[in-house]
Subunit: 371 residues, 2 copies
């Protein structure tokens, strides 16, 4: 059982808080991704210092290395990785389709080969629940199937219907405890009627929160927003909504306008390792020689350690030399930028000026939509 | 002018402090290496938290990238890299021999090709002094020539004599300021008479400190100690002595017994990135599967963040997955271990029990000598 308080709304935009066994999360919230038990290139205290209140862990990666049983023997994922705040784990459904080798899907679940060593494994709703329980996830995700985009409607429909049967089995296998919860995942591709059927099926089962899956798979922002124009309306007002794997700053701002409360994405951390910096003046590629003699910070309006203590010229130098500190500083900055954005989003909703904030932001960050 | 206070001695072992423009350094001291303007995988505040009071920067690397002139335009190396404590820079002499491509040595200096892009450069005593001035090094090293080991005595002698002529030119080109100083470098290989001639030549020129170069080049600890049995005796008591590029924990403990005050070495940081941990129980290879289920810290007597908050099993997992955090944690721990060792060394000298500390340490860490 998770408690979610909806504090205030502005049209569809929502300002809430989610109370978990490991702490409270202010929403709208962005969750940094800690794939194998580390937000890459970051100390957990640095992740926390960015303002992040919850992180995401990956069932698929962790079941292969170090294994869920081993994480449990270390006292769960929080203690294993020294992140004492809330953790959401995905179900493995998405990554078993995108990463694993030879796989076979049946009604029972998915048998597959590890992308690391070819060893054989199985994921089913029951096994996914068991893994997420062993990891001690505050928020467990129902096990679902993800289809490729684009796909024919009948394929999307059959897959969604299977995911709903798996959602029921997930809920039944989930061990409920105070401060722990399970989210269902709405599927149905870009089809409104399928999204509606999926949402209704999940509501009938009853979840602590509802995720919107199957987006950010290459459909483009416009199409994604069109799905978000109706899908949140199919969901209960009093439960959190989580848009999985999204996204760019304008994606977040646009999705909040449409009623989404939670997000996760590798973008700020992955971009940080490849030299991309999100700033209030746009996206910078720190590998570019134009930064070589630049004595200014990444973002003059940012108060992160990278912006307080280092110049663009120094960060460029680090990337040019392939230095780990470059990844560390830029990941810190990018996560800080995302969390600052979430703070601004939350304040704007509280102060009933979210529509104006949204319009201005979408204008200023028009470029990020082309990324 | 640098001020060096010799606070107390126990036989040849010395406890002192070196006062520089950017702060005071307690000796015996170990300097972490920050090759291109970063101690690899470390935030400078984390370097400081290990107890390090001074770091080393490399003239050769920095002159190529980002160039000394560019570092100067950023306000010097301290500001460029956000390390506000003292910095010692080497002269480039050692690395131009070990890293650069085609090179030509004349009495004037060394012309060479960059190992990065093949571009042509020149280092001479005057140019090395200019670069170290531009970097704003608290301690500048005289430009010297390094011969390969082993080498015939006549080769070592000729090279040492040239290094002494270059030392004189270095001293003449060095711009003296309060809190800044220049160290000469004793050469002469494994030959006592050459070491003595070299030391006398340097003393005649007059330096703020004296380094012992040309060791840790593959001669082995026993041979190195035999050179250290006599070389420090050729040097003035009231100036710091710096053993360049050394070393393993037992190297430091044995060299302090023989009268050395300062050290630098990539070992703790480089080992940290490859999975090697220095502990009071010996050296561990964290990649070994034996650590997979180990719930204990790296070193139960260490108070570093890696030991306080993480298990051997977790650190093993990070290395197994190639995660940057593994390098971050292990570098932090290893530098902490080295600085803890320096603290123990300093306390033991202060309390007049260094010989006993030395004997016990050499016994306990006998294995590290085989590394």
């Amino acid at each position: 059982m998770l408690k979610f308080n909806l504090k205030t709304t502005e049209n569809k935009a929502r300002r809430g808080e989610l109370i978990t066994a490991h702490g409270t999360v202010q929403t709208p919230a962005f969750m940094p991704v800690g794939t194998v038990g580390t937000v890459k290139a970051m100390m957990p205290e640095t992740v926390k210092s960015t303002g992040a209140e919850i992180i995401l862990g990956n069932t698929y990666h962790l079941m292969l290395r170090p294994t869920a049983e081993r994480v449990a023997s270390f006292g769960g994922l929080h203690r294993f990785m020294n992140w004492m705040g809330p953790i959401l784990t995905d179900s493995g459904g998405f990554q078993v389709m995108s990463l694993s080798g030879l796989r076979k899907i049946t009604e029972e679940g998915v048998s597959f080969q590890s992308h690391l060593d070819g060893s054989r494994h199985m994921l089913s709703p029951e096994r996914s629940m068991e893994i997420q329980y062993l990891l001690d996830a505050d928020i467990t995700m129902a096990f679902d199937e993800c289809v490729k985009y684009p796909a024919e409607k009948k394929v999307v429909k059959a897959s969604m219907e299977r995911s709903m049967r798996w959602a029921k089995r997930s809920k039944e296998a989930f061990k409920d405890r105070d401060g722990y919860g399970i989210f269902g995942i709405v599927q149905g591709g870009m089809f409104e009627d399928l999204r509606k059927q999926s949402a209704q099926a999940l509501i009938e089962i009853g979840f602590d929160g509802y995720a919107i899956g199957g987006l950010a798979v290459g459909e483009g922002q416009k199409t994604m927003f069109s799905v978000l124009d109706y899908t949140p309306d199919f969901l209960p007002l009093d439960k959190p909504r989580y848009l999985m794997g999204v996204g760019r700053p304008t994606d977040l701002v646009g999705a909040v306008l449409r009623g989404v409360d939670m997000f996760d994405c590798v973008m700020p951390s992955r971009s940080g390792r490849t030299g991309q910096a999100f700033t209030r003046q746009g996206v910078l590629n720190m590998r570019n020689a134009c930064h070589m003699d630049d004595h200014t910070p990444l973002d003059r309006d940012c108060s992160c350690p990278a912006c307080r203590n280092y110049t663009r010229g120094y960060i460029h130098h680090l990337f040019r030399c392939g230095e780990i500190l470059g990844s560390m500083l830029l990941t810190t900055h990018n996560l800080w930028f995302y969390q600052d954005l979430m703070k601004e989003i939350r304040s704007a909703i509280e102060e009933n000026r979210y529509q104006a904030f949204h319009d201005s932001f979408m204008n200023r960050f028009a470029d990020d939509r082309k990324m």
